[in-house]
Symmetry: C2
Subunit: 263 residues, 2 copies
């Protein structure tokens, strides 16, 4: 199967087969209608701290699924967690030591994998609602930024809130809020609209993760809580070992977007 120009048409299985084969791309716009997820795998000994961190910070860390220790698939992810995500990051003592497309060699039997909701999940609803999504138009990764807002710590874990940003025409901001508020399990409504300085972001042109996007006249930067927040906590808190997805290179799940909509 070749990677064609319409990745939105792939099923989760098809997309995961491509990634397992080595394709490594950001997944915004892929497998339309299927939820995407952030991955964080930690040793069982560190799992309580993260699950509590997520409970205390549900906006950036909405947990969709948690595996049994050592399991390589999940209820919402029938693929192989070690190979079927397009890119991974390996952290040792909080340092990013490797970016890999296959983590079979470093996977451990005591790892618990957390799948955390991703805002890519509501992007097709934004498009359907007439709200443009710049990084989809550009074919790039979404821009993500560390903020100066602290998450509530839990045990050994602390760190800043990370946000994704989408430039939205001023007359569509209310629509963007209304539409995304219906998806609390994939970050829900924006945490901030407008002035990036108020979040401690000094330059939208140099995101901490992902790619910068153009902000056109009449557009307002809108910020959503982001599932890279767990990685920022790993970097700050330095657990001995962790594996995550690479920002924007998500796990494509077997759950439908619609499963996470509230009426």
């Amino acid at each position: 199967m070749d990677h064609d120009a319409a990745p939105g048409r792939y099923t989760p299985d098809e997309a995961r087969a491509l990634f397992r084969g080595g394709l490594s791309v950001p997944t915004a716009g892929w497998a339309t209608g299927w939820a995407q997820a952030n991955l964080l795998a930690l040793p069982r000994a560190d799992a309580y701290d993260f699950l509590l961190f997520a409970q205390r910070n549900p906006k950036p860390c909405p947990v969709l699924d948690v595996t049994e220790p050592g399991a390589t698939s999940a209820s919402v992810f029938a693929g192989d967690l070690r190979t079927d995500v397009p890119a991974y990051r390996v952290y040792r003592d909080g340092e990013l030591v490797e970016e890999l497309t296959d983590v079979s060699e470093v996977w451990r039997d005591d790892l618990v994998a957390f799948l955390v909701g991703c805002s890519f999940t509501f992007e097709s609803a934004l498009l359907d609602g007439g709200v443009p999504v710049r990084h989809l138009e550009a074919g790039s990764n979404a821009p993500m930024y560390r903020t100066d807002r602290e998450c509530r710590p839990a045990g050994a874990l602390s760190g800043p809130l990370v946000v994704s940003m989408r430039p939205v025409p001023a007359d569509k901001v209310a629509d963007a809020v209304r539409i995304t508020a219906r998806y609390p399990a994939v970050h829900g409504a924006p945490v901030h609209v407008g002035d990036p300085g108020a979040l401690g972001i000094t330059d939208l042109g140099t995101p901490d993760f992902g790619d910068a996007v153009e902000i056109r006249p009449g557009e307002v930067p809108v910020f959503w809580a982001c599932g890279v927040t767990p990685q920022a906590a790993v970097m700050r808190s330095r657990p001995a070992f962790a594996i995550s997805h690479a920002p924007g290179h998500m796990a494509i799940t077997d759950a439908r977007d619609a499963q996470y909509v509230v009426p």
Copy 2:
């Protein structure tokens, strides 16, 4: 302070002072406008299994707050968790060994306390919406039943779903659903309306916890997921030690009901 006939007027502090003084009563109808919570305290070594059990069973186990190990108060509960709940149950190896009004003597420094949402929280909204609540009229505890529905297990914890029941006039059932659906953090919409047999409940007149209530002609039994579910999991799964509230004798929190309403 004497316990008067209008406990709905108490503030959380006033109610907790009465309980600390030894008053032991079911708390339905108490401290109107303030959220009530189920309590489960487990050793830190067992806390991950319970937090994961809650994550996997959010309808019966919506976690409102989790304490640090050994802490005796919580973000949403400024009182003393060892004395300010009207009645406690102490479990050893899954057996209920004591019911106490003060657990200071058996509290341990490694206990993590979980506060789990309680459906008493939405009862004033039901009354405001014209839906009668029989156990409030009767001045009794709510009836609660083990069902034959299994929760998703987590680690060493498994157990059945427990439900509370309120008889609702047939023409008010839709209102009861609509109103309680707005409170997902305190069990939300009913899990079942009508036939108790379909939940494996053979006799509504003999609840597993709390008091039986009259079901009048034209009323339908309506079942909500119940925060006694964690106790049923303790009884089934037999962790070495656990402390809970006594069913219906809840922790009255410092959180407003309104804090848990979704628009």
